[in-house]
Symmetry: C2
Subunit: 302 residues, 2 copies
């Protein structure tokens, strides 16, 4: 099963966009029209053994992560979270205290960003813990900020530092970039945005495909996390590890220069490349060599 | 782990109701205020081996069921479904055709009632299939129809026939009572409503606890499904089996008499008892004997 192929298949099944649905499957959030307002809707899941290891991290961290992932999807559209619902498929016999810890984790992530948990469902089964969160949010402005708006010549920017999120444990306690995204759109006219969950190469690929553009990254400009720098291949870690939950966005070169000079966000912004008319992505190495970025290659490297 | 005790615990953690949240955890749907309108939000999950057996029923039936369960929650508030998102935790290596069948099942349930699937998430893991659906809906009127409005002296009514849903396979292909609920509220002033998923005894218990009332059922008036009648204890099946996805509601005795006489809904309505001031539920048997209804007793009987 290939998740991306399956989502592409779903997108081909029907044209949903109309009076009620402004944006259907395929972006970080779907967008609905309710009572004259736009509503962001996103859903995500975290499974024991895939997205966290319950025995190692405990229920609180698991609950935090699944809620924070949805918050990161809301941030990717520069939205404001409104409320969330959660499901818990708990291993039969799971202690009440563990369930309460999961709930406290959901609440810790949500409370920090004004997003209450307003409902949910709990079921028991004989398999590992699986959590889901569906979150509703309010978009930034009249039109939602999508993945698809990148323009040829745009600068490609990223918040924070990339790579090594699993090794450092950051994937369990990252801060969703809600405040940063909302500040960002007051500072610049952002054309396209996505959060980095699959990895810089893969998510840049999503952004390029959605916009029908290509991209060229400067290897030396990609901000490497301490964890990535400690590994044997820091650049590959930054390109491929994923779960950074940083913002990847495009805007005019002038806007990008201002942003990088003034650094108005609580987190550093780096300008790491540019949008091209090509149907591909490339990386300019420190030696000036140009190599193709295979989004899947990096994704499956580890 | 006791699901109901855990949900009670969650409810005690915070008072959510305010400007944005009209109804928090504990009813069939949460209710939000968006752009001057009310929005219903409900989430539910279906797991292989718990809510369906994938090898026996296939992905299409599994997808149908998880979507139909959420539609039934929207029906319980006499709402109109607007859109849904879904997650799929698929067993690693699951065939693309099976995933497509799941999606077709989601669509079959949603398309029949005008509810598109606008987003979702797909992940692979080494354990059985787990599906979730989160659905948004529009409530019936100015105030949402809740579980909690039952008044002492109300008649207790139910749509359709109860019991034996697992044996008959009805739990995989039931019709959510969306149209019936919306017709119902044009015919009568319904005070409280819930859908029967846990079982008549358990769901009547939820309704009574939410309203601070008791109830008395007439055993002979409870409509028994053909599957229940074929079993060794039809009445216990109707009280305890669950997964009927019929509507259980209360209204004045006069309204109930009119409803039962005129039968204006596409599905039969039965008057099965009355709401009392007691702190308990009882059943008047065919022999006139009064026995207490232990909601959990019936629930765990099988």
């Amino acid at each position: 099963m290939d998740e991306f192929a399956f989502i592409d298949w779903i997108r081909r099944q029907t044209a949903l966009e109309g009076d009620r649905i402004a944006v259907g499957p395929g972006d970080d959030c779907a967008v609905m029209r309710i009572g004259g307002e736009l509503l962001l809707v996103t859903t995500d899941q975290c499974a024991d053994g895939v997205h966290f290891v319950l025995d190692a991290c405990g229920g609180e961290a698991a609950g935090y992560k699944v809620m924070a992932r949805s918050l990161s999807d809301i941030a990717a559209m520069a939205g404001e979270p409104l409320a969330a619902v959660a499901t818990v498929a708990a291993t039969r016999g799971m202690a009440e205290a563990q369930l309460q810890a999961i709930y406290r984790g959901l609440r810790r992530a949500g409370d920090a960003l004004g997003c209450p948990v307003i409902g949910g469902d709990v079921a028991a089964w004989d398999h590992p813990l699986l959590l889901t969160v569906t979150m509703l949010g309010k978009p930034a402005g009249e039109a939602p900020l999508l993945r698809s708006g990148a323009k040829v010549g745009d600068a490609v920017c990223v918040t924070g530092e990339l790579g090594g999120s699993l090794e450092s444990g950051r994937h369990l306690n990252f801060t969703p970039r809600i405040a940063e995204a909302r500040e960002l759109i007051t500072q610049a006219d952002v054309h396209a945005m996505i959060d980095i969950s699959d990895g810089l190469a893969a998510d840049l690929g999503h952004l390029c495909r959605a916009g029908g553009v290509g991209a060229e990254l400067d290897a030396g400009a990609i901000p490497l996390s301490a964890a990535a720098r400690q590994g044997h291949d820091p650049l590959s870690a930054a390109l491929g590890d994923g779960e950074d939950y940083e913002l990847l966005f495009t805007l005019t070169d002038d806007d990008a220069r201002n942003l990088v000079t003034n650094q108005p966000l609580p987190v550093p912004v780096s300008r790491i490349g540019r949008i091209t008319a090509a149907d591909s992505m490339t990386l300019i190495g420190p030696d000036g060599k140009v190599v193709p970025i295979d989004q899947c290659g990096w994704r499956h490297r580890t």
